[in-house]
Amino acid sequence: MRVMSFIGVLGLKGAIGLKTKNKELSPVHELLEKKYNGGFLNRREKIIPIILFFMAAVSVLTTLGIVLTLIFETFTFFGDVSIVEFFTATEWYPFSKTEAVYGIWPLVLGTLKITLIASLFAVPLGLAVALYLSEYAGARTRKIMKPILEVLAGVPTIVYGFFALTFVTPFLRGLFPSIELFNAISPGIVVGIMIIPTIVSLSEDALSSVPEPVRHGALAIGSTKWETASKVIFPAALSGILASIVLGISRAIGETMIVSIAAGSTPSAALNLTSSLQTMTSYIVQVTTGDAGFGTTIYYSIYAVGFTLFVFTLAMNVLAQFISKRFREEY
């Protein structure tokens, strides 16, 4: 019996790749343990890593679950709708009873519009703040800005959505009356606000991890702070900065509530930014808020859209990892 369980544990140990033999009781201890405690301690030492391994496996199962769910349900969707139509049609019109068209392009375009505006807003601003904090600001300014950025990062996206709809949109419409109630600019800017903390904190980490002697060297040969920052520090931190931008863009692509509230729900293949549009994320929200019955084509379409979205964000995340590994300056 004991041998059997020993072999079982050994097998599992091999399978889950334990680092070292568990630190077990000394032989004398073990005998005492067995006599008075029924070998409880030793058995516990063997069982606990197995339990912990299964806990760690949950993350892997989650990834698998996401990928398999998206793939299977997307396959079901492509049983109803041709894959060629999905990639080539330029209309997304699923709610028509007679002539539903499922071309992903308008939703992708919507996402790209929001992401473009968000990056145009957040990248210059975020980099300026990061450079100011790491190269110019004193300890006090940094001490004030850190919590401000943390709060900005912690504000739920539903709150940003509310802000976009009730403040930014009316504000922009006051300046430019041609902007419609639902548009790309207002949610785009607010998504930009949302990703500023990501860009600032990661870029600032990259900038301040450039060693002080490098900075001092540049200043000592007579460079101004700006010359030091732009010609020495910025290039040295470039990989981290690029990675922060890519991660920010990835968050913008996946952002859901701001666009659901302020961008409207009209899939549009038009290039203008002032009228209502729909993104991949807000389509999923629109369908799941409504009563699209389980098993309908519309129901399965959210998985196809979700899959596309997943591929986009995964590509961005992998790109960010690649950039920060490949172009890292080692000191």
């Binding site: 110019y136 504000v155 709150v159 990835s250 996946g254």
Partner: protein, 294 residues
């Protein structure tokens, strides 16, 4: 000859001047950008407080949702959020810390461990709406939990799990080796060392990271919408298999109505949400500062 020298040095001084001016202009620009970012936050908070504060009252906290704005409240939403967090906190904490202990203390440096680690960091970048699709398929449909507290709670737990794992790993990694060796030296087993030396030492770090993760779960809306959590609920749940609504769902519902009164209610709901989040964050920061000196 002297003249030429003079012109040269004048030119040099001019050039230095222009370089210094450039530096000043850039510094001013960067400072403005920093100021602008802070102003955005101030405007955001100011707008919400001005709009929502008049609607905050004891009745607002005590009433259920209503079609009439003056009678509407957030009781069901607040109670629902508490119920959901009662599922999320133990689930995510146990699995998150368990995974971290495994990865830091037991896992070998092999391909499998690297793969698990890569999985975790990629999961952290998956949009929350996609987690919603997972919850809808697995918990709502496959396990048949329906749009219940349990389904939403499990979905949220998976969403915040990567954050908790990474934070716990860092906290566990920061435990000094001497402490562990001392414990082994006294004859403690590995698990005794982990449970009585490593974890107690790492608790502040784990708590800080977990509280921040939980505050994210409280504010997330998209996964709740996708798993089909209703917004108009006029009863309190009595168990984890009951249907419910949550604070961000209620805010979303009020925001998406055209009437101004409902927007004001949404602002009032946002104030309640932000107060809860700021309290949680303050606790996290307090723990961090208190134990940082160690």
């Amino acid at each position: 000859m002297e003249n030429v020298e003079r012109i040269k040095s004048e030119e040099m001084i001019n050039r230095i001047d222009s370089r210094l001016t450039k530096n000043k202009v850039v510094k001013g620009l960067f400072f403005t950008a920093t100021l602008f970012t802070s102003i955005i936050l101030i405007v955001l908070l100011y707008r919400i407080i001005v709009q929502g504060a008049p609607y905050l009252s004891w009745d607002f906290l005590q009433n259920f949702a209503s079609r009439r704005p003056e009678q509407a409240g957030i009781k069901a939403a607040v109670v629902g959020t508490i119920w959901m967090m009662a599922v999320v906190v133990p689930t995510a904490a146990i699995f998150g810390v368990g995974s971290a202990i495994y990865l830091e203390e037991y896992a070998g440096k092999n391909a499998l461990t690297r793969w698990i680690q890569m999985n975790i960091s990629n999961l952290a970048g998956v949009p929350s709406v996609v987690f919603g699709l997972l919850g809808l398929t697995i918990f709502v449909r496959l396990f048949g939990f329906g749009n219940s507290i349990l389904a939403a709670g499990f979905t949220m737990s998976l969403l915040v799990l990567p954050v908790i794992i990474v934070a716990s790993q860092e906290a566990i990694r920061a435990v000094p080796n001497e402490l562990k060796e001392a414990s082994y030296g006294l004859g403690a087993t590995k698990w005794q060392t982990i449970s009585r030396v490593v974890i107690p030492y790492a608790v502040p770090g784990i708590a800080t990271g977990s509280i921040l993760a939980f505050s994210r779960a409280i504010g997330e809306t998209a996964p709740l919408i996708v798993v089909g959590i209703p917004t108009f609920v006029a009863f309190l749940p009595s168990g984890v298999f009951d249907s419910f609504t949550a604070l961000p769902m209620q805010i979303y519902n009020w925001t998406s109505r055209p009437q101004e009164e409902f927007h004001n209610l949404a602002a009032a709901g946002i104030i309640v949400l932000l107060v809860v989040l700021i309290m949680m964050n303050s606790v996290a920061v307090w723990i961090r500062n208190r134990y940082q000196s160690r």
